[in-house]
């Protein structure tokens, strides 16, 4: 919402400075977004008089002028055709910045003659497009500042323009008078009386108006109109054009400018029909659906069923409260005009406006709520203004429907302000505040002014009082602790897991990413998603069309971007939600990590090598351990297709309880996502890890054995597809009390073993508890190990 200072002063009698006004506006909740003060950029220009103007010795079109300025006589070279002796001009002395040409004036020689300044044209001062010659002022004294002269003689040129942001609850502040009322309530001046008018009609209005029965409800409350005959529509007067231009509107014609004036002056949209183009009478009704209208903006609109429109005998002529039709719009030739002031139901306006995608000033105001009680007064004021500007005679006012009664009252509880806001404001001041905003107080009941649809309860009264009193006056007051003593921990077990997973992954050398949770359709499909349930209806780009089914595609795409920048060795991770459906409860927490490239740069130690799945496995085991997962798990190979089918493992508690997956990413997926391998990854689902059973902080007692443990190595030849874990578990089962640990230390495939065979070497650690092991005891356990392993894997001891 834009307005000028002088427009504000039409309604507000105030001595307050521009700064005081803008500060108060922001503080009142009418946040100032910008102030354009032309006086500020013209403040250095002064008035001078041309004493003589001689032709330049070396240039036909230039003149050498002697100009009387506040700094004495100055010689100025000027090329303007009207530069001549005796005129009063606007001077830019050396050092002054000229906004229209964005230049700071200096002393220079023009064709060999010195020039000490410039005489400005209107365009150079950004006052108009006029550049035929320099400004000739009809009055003004030498040395007077140009802005003072403008303020006295042409105030519109130095009228500051203020732009404020209006929150949706404040339609009243969409009119300058409403803004003035807030400032007056704050004490920045007093309201000037509102203008009134009454234009007596010269007979019944020949155009009648009806509202269909089904349109009275949630459609059009009241429609008032009258015919004004014999108008002469032309450009509106300069003051009105200046005002509209200042706030960014284009003056069109007197009739249209009048409606725009009331839109911004009183938050009162109006409409004018060219009565000669209206066939028969007007009827307000709902659309059937499928009808069309060309609007005043020359765009074609097609209606859905149930939208509220105004028709004549030719059909639809206007979209009620949103936009008039082109066919019946006023033009320079309009002689007879039908003026409309109506009150429309706000929700219907919002719905229709949104459906038709029309953002007009009328819709903006009608959907937020205008003052219904002002409807009939608006007709009179607008009629008066039209007659004043365009002449003509008015008919009686025709009315359909009824002005709605919006009167309501709420109890003012002065203690509530103290309790809710925490500010001490005396009751008398609270009452005075509300009264100055237009509330009527009867006892402790406050009657809401008709222009404040936002006030709907007691809390709103508190808000008004606090707002006008100023929240800057609010003093902070300690919030007592909810409980006395040391605060209790507040994170839930899952929140702790997130934190632990994040910090552990970072400690393992991974860099945390936060990716967009929506990805492109192809990537989503590669990871088992991309169905319609997880699709956005209105994505901002096709790259962000589906909620991610998994965190890995985001990390892989990040890897591709980094590779494109020449960063090839990557360890990335993310902790966040993935989506297995489009319902609120179809989101789950995932921790994903990705290793790409080498373990590090090439080095003198020969330590750098390509990453492999055992890197991912080590990290996922560290993570699972940090998250409190059981040490004993199964490794299955039932992971989804974006993993390499033979090179991934799912860490499970039983066939259905998957805690994590690690492995190589399927090369097909890598090439789809433009990632250069090797790439290994892991996923952990923290919610799948069973909760810790024990709450106690004590740990089981540490049992240290004094007796020496014994290590024995075994190598078995097994079929190549036998899994090491099967073998290890079999060996460990040979003597559960004595065998403390079984560890694979070598694997050898093929060679002398022949096709399809491999050797797995293990160390079995036996920890005696009672007595030192004798060779015979060790032999016995060894034999048991061999037997168990053979039974489980068919493996034989390597000779």
């Amino acid at each position: 919402m834009k307005f000028t200072l002088s427009w504000l002063k039409d309604h507000l009698d105030t001595e307050a400075s521009l700064d005081e006004i803008t500060y108060a506006l922001t503080d009142l909740g009418l946040e100032v977004e910008g102030v354009e003060n032309p006086a500020a950029r013209l403040s250095e220009f002064t008035i001078g008089k041309v004493v003589s103007a001689e032709k330049h010795p070396d240039a036909d079109k230039l003149k050498v002028c002697q100009v009387q300025t506040d700094a004495g006589m100055s010689q100025i070279i000027c090329g303007a055709p009207n530069a001549r002796e005796g005129i009063t001009v606007v001077i830019a002395k050396p050092g002054v910045h000229v906004p229209g040409i964005d230049t700071t004036i200096g002393v220079g020689k023009i064709r060999g003659v010195e020039s000490h300044g410039m005489m400005a044209s209107e365009r150079e001062l950004e006052l108009s497009d006029e550049h035929e010659g320099i400004i000739e002022l009809p009055s003004g004294e030498v040395g007077e500042t140009f802005t003072d002269w403008l303020a006295a003689n042409d105030p519109a040129k130095v009228d500051p323009v203020i732009e404020i942001a209006i929150t949706p609850n404040r339609p009243d502040a969409l009119g300058v008078r409403g803004i003035a009322l807030d400032l007056a309530a704050r004490g920045l001046g007093t309201m000037k009386p509102a203008q009134t008018a009454h234009v007596a009609g010269d007979g019944p209005c020949p155009i009648t108006v009806t509202i269909d029965d089904d349109t009275r409800q949630d459609g059009c409350e009241v429609f008032a109109g009258r015919l004004i005959r014999g108008v002469k529509n032309g450009p509106s007067p300069q003051w009105l054009q200046d005002r509209l231009r200042a706030i960014g509107l284009r003056p069109i014609s007197a009739l249209v400018d009048v409606t725009n004036f009331f839109t911004f002056d009183r938050n009162r949209p109006l409409h004018v029909f060219d009565a000669d183009k209206v066939q028969g009478n007007l009827r307000i009704h709902r659309t059937q659906g499928g009808e069309t209208l060309t609007g005043l903006d020359e765009k074609d609109y097609t209606f859905d069923a149930g939208q509220v429109v105004i028709s004549d005998d030719n059909g639809i002529e206007s979209i009620g409260g949103i936009m008039g039709g082109l066919a019946t719009g006023c033009t320079g030739e309009t002689v007879n005009v039908f003026l409309e002031a109506a009150v429309w139901e706000t929700v219907q306006i919002a719905m229709t406006g949104r459906a038709l995608k029309i953002n007009s000033d009328a819709r903006y105001r009608n959907e937020r709520g205008i003052d219904p009680a002002f409807n009939m007064e608006a007709v009179e004021l607008a009629t008066q203004m039209i007659i004043d500007l365009c002449g003509g005679t008015a008919s009686d006012v025709t009315v359909a429907g009824e002005v709605p009664n919006v009167s309501r009252s709420y109890r003012l509880d002065p203690a509530r302000v103290q309790s809710l806001v925490g500010m001490e404001i005396p009751e008398a001041e609270q009452r005075k505040t509300l009264e100055s905003l237009g509330f009527k107080l009867e006892g402790d009941m406050a009657w809401v002014p008709s222009w404040r649809p936002d006030v709907q309860g007691e809390a709103d009264l508190v808000e008004e009082v606090a707002r006008i009193a100023s929240l800057t006056r609010l003093e902070g007051k300690p919030l007592p602790r909810a409980t006395i003593g040391v605060p209790k921990p507040i994170l839930s077990p899952m929140q702790k897991r997130q934190q632990v997973a994040r910090r552990t992954a970072a400690a393992l050398g991974y860099n945390e990413c936060v990716s967009y949770t929506f990805i492109d359709h192809t990537a989503a499909q590669l990871f088992g998603g991309g169905d319609d349930a997880t699709m956005l209806e209105n994505p901002i780009s096709s790259e962000m069309s589906h909620m991610r089914p998994d965190l890995l595609p985001g990390l892989l795409q990040a890897a591709a971007r980094n590779q494109a920048r020449g960063l090839n060795d990557l360890a990335l991770f993310e902790v966040g939600p993935a989506f297995h459906g489009g319902e609120p409860d179809e989101q789950h927490l995932q921790v994903a990590g990705l290793l790409v490239g080498r373990t590090g740069p090439r080095d003198v130690h020969g330590a750098s090598r390509p990453v492999d799945l055992f890197d991912a496995k080590a990290d996922v085991e560290a993570l699972l351990s940090a998250l409190g997962a059981p040490a004993k798990t199964q490794v299955l190979r039932n992971g989804p297709g974006w993993w390499h089918p033979g090179r991934h493992g799912a860490i499970c508690l039983g066939p259905k309880k998957q805690l994590a997956i690690f492995g190589e990413i399927n090369p097909r997926v890598l090439s789809e996502l433009d990632v250069k391998g090797p790439a290994v990854a892991f996923s952990v689902w923290p919610a799948e890890i069973p909760a810790a059973r024990r709450k106690a902080t004590t740990r089981p007692a540490l049992e240290l054995r004094d007796l020496q443990a014994v290590d024995r190595d075994f190598a078995f030849i097994v079929d190549a597809d036998v899994e090491a874990l099967t073998l290890v578990n079999a060996a460990a089962g040979a003597d559960k009390t004595l065998i403390e640990n079984v560890h694979v230390f070598d694997e050898f495939i093929g060679g002398s073993l022949g096709e399809g065979k491999k050797s797995i070497a293990i160390t079995v650690r036996m920890q005696p508890t009672e007595k030192t092991l004798k060779e015979a005891d060790i032999e016995a356990v060894g034999a048991k190990v061999v037997e168990k392993v053979q039974k489980a894997t068919g493996g034989v001891l390597r000779g």
Partner: protein, 357 residues
């Protein structure tokens, strides 16, 4: 005897290596060594003679033994010194590579905010990113025709043909979590709700996903003055600047009443923003007293309970505190950015150890 002593002590001192030393030991105190032989002679002495010669011989034996031990240690030392002199590595060569991981600023700042509010008794509540339009709008006093809905640039989820429910939305704020928490826990209540939120907007300063933390405190007598104190305490703790000034300005949000926008004190020096000094103000936060309709939507009786709510951008807090210039880079996962603006794994923010290093 003294002559014997001098002979061996000198010889030991001059022994060139371990072997020579061993020879000397055998010569002196070996089974058939000079001193051992002398000791054998003790038996033939008179008791008187034995009384002086015995201890003297024993003492001599001890002296020679320890001289040999000392010399042996000295020789070993010298040998080690000699070896060490030959062992030289170019220690300026690079070490074996170790990756250094980082935590994202969004996570770090979320933890910082959590640490501060946990001390004031606020728990952390979380909720779904895809939510119903009721939780995201209606329950927050934003009915379907409300202009605020259109202004929020909402992302809608696709609705299957025949499913007549209003489309779900990607939450535009974390406020739906407030409603869900009120429903689940009732009053009194103190929670913060951090998390990702979405608006269909992408330019210099907007990304379609960003992060917010909202706070909610409900009790019998909580006022806006308490809100102001809580926020002032928060800003001082978060920015680690005592007495940082805030300014409350009246505003409007459908879900709070009265509502205030909050500015913090700042200044611009050479194009650099400085928080907590100077005469400028920067808008950082929206807040207010929870609207009675919102309390009711959460199943809390507004005649009995009242409280405040506020919302602030986590990414924005991170940008302001750590001088991160571009919001869009937060979500680009550029390794150089992650390393530069990320935090070490053990930089866990705490109130006792400080939020930042």
């Amino acid at each position: 005897m003294d002559q014997l002593r001098d002979k061996y002590i000198t010889a030991i001192a001059n022994a060139a290596d371990e072997a020579a030393l061993e020879d000397l030991r055998v010569q002196a105190v070996g089974k058939k060594g000079e001193i051992s032989l002398k000791m054998r002679e003790l038996g033939r002495m008179t008791p008187e003679e034995r009384q002086t010669a015995g201890p003297a011989l024993n003492a001599l034996k001890d002296e020679i033994n320890s001289a040999i031990a000392a010399k042996r240690a000295a020789l070993a030392d010298a040998a080690l010194d000699e070896r060490l002199r030959g062992e030289w590595l170019d220690v300026t060569l690079p070490a074996r590579h170790k990756r250094r991981g980082t935590v994202h600023p969004v996570s770090q700042v979320t933890e910082e905010v959590t640490a501060i509010f946990a001390d004031m008794g606020f728990a952390v509540a979380e909720g779904p990113r895809i939510d119903t339009d009721w939780y995201n709008f209606d329950a927050l006093n934003i009915p379907s025709h409300h202009p605020a809905r259109a202004e929020m640039d909402t992302f809608y989820m696709h609705r299957a043909e025949g499913d007549d429910r209003p489309p779900h939305v990607l939450r535009t704020h974390t406020s739906p979590v407030q409603i869900r928490t009120m429903e689940a826990e009732g009053a009194p209540l103190r929670v913060i709700c951090p998390g990702g939120v979405y608006r269909a907007d992408y330019d210099q300063t907007h990304t379609p996903m960003f992060h917010q933390v909202e706070g909610l405190a409900i009790d019998r007598d909580i006022s806006m003055a308490n809100l102001k104190w809580v926020l002032e305490e928060f800003f001082a703790a978060f920015f680690e600047i005592d007495g940082i000034k805030t300014r409350f300005r009246a505003s409007h949000f459908p879900f709070t009443e009265p509502s205030a926008e909050v500015d913090i004190q700042c200044s611009w020096v050479d194009g650099q923003l400085r928080i907590g000094e100077g005469d400028d103000w920067m808008e950082v936060l929206g807040s207010g007293m929870v609207h009675p309709k919102v309390l009711r939507a959460g199943g809390i009786d507004p005649d009995e309970w009242q409280g405040f709510a506020f919302g602030i951008g986590i990414d924005r807090l991170a940008m302001l505190k750590y001088g991160i210039p571009d919001l869009r880079a937060f979500f680009d996962s550029d390794l150089r950015w992650l390393r530069h603006y990320g935090f070490a794994a053990l930089d866990v923010p705490t109130l006792h150890g400080g939020l930042s290093r």
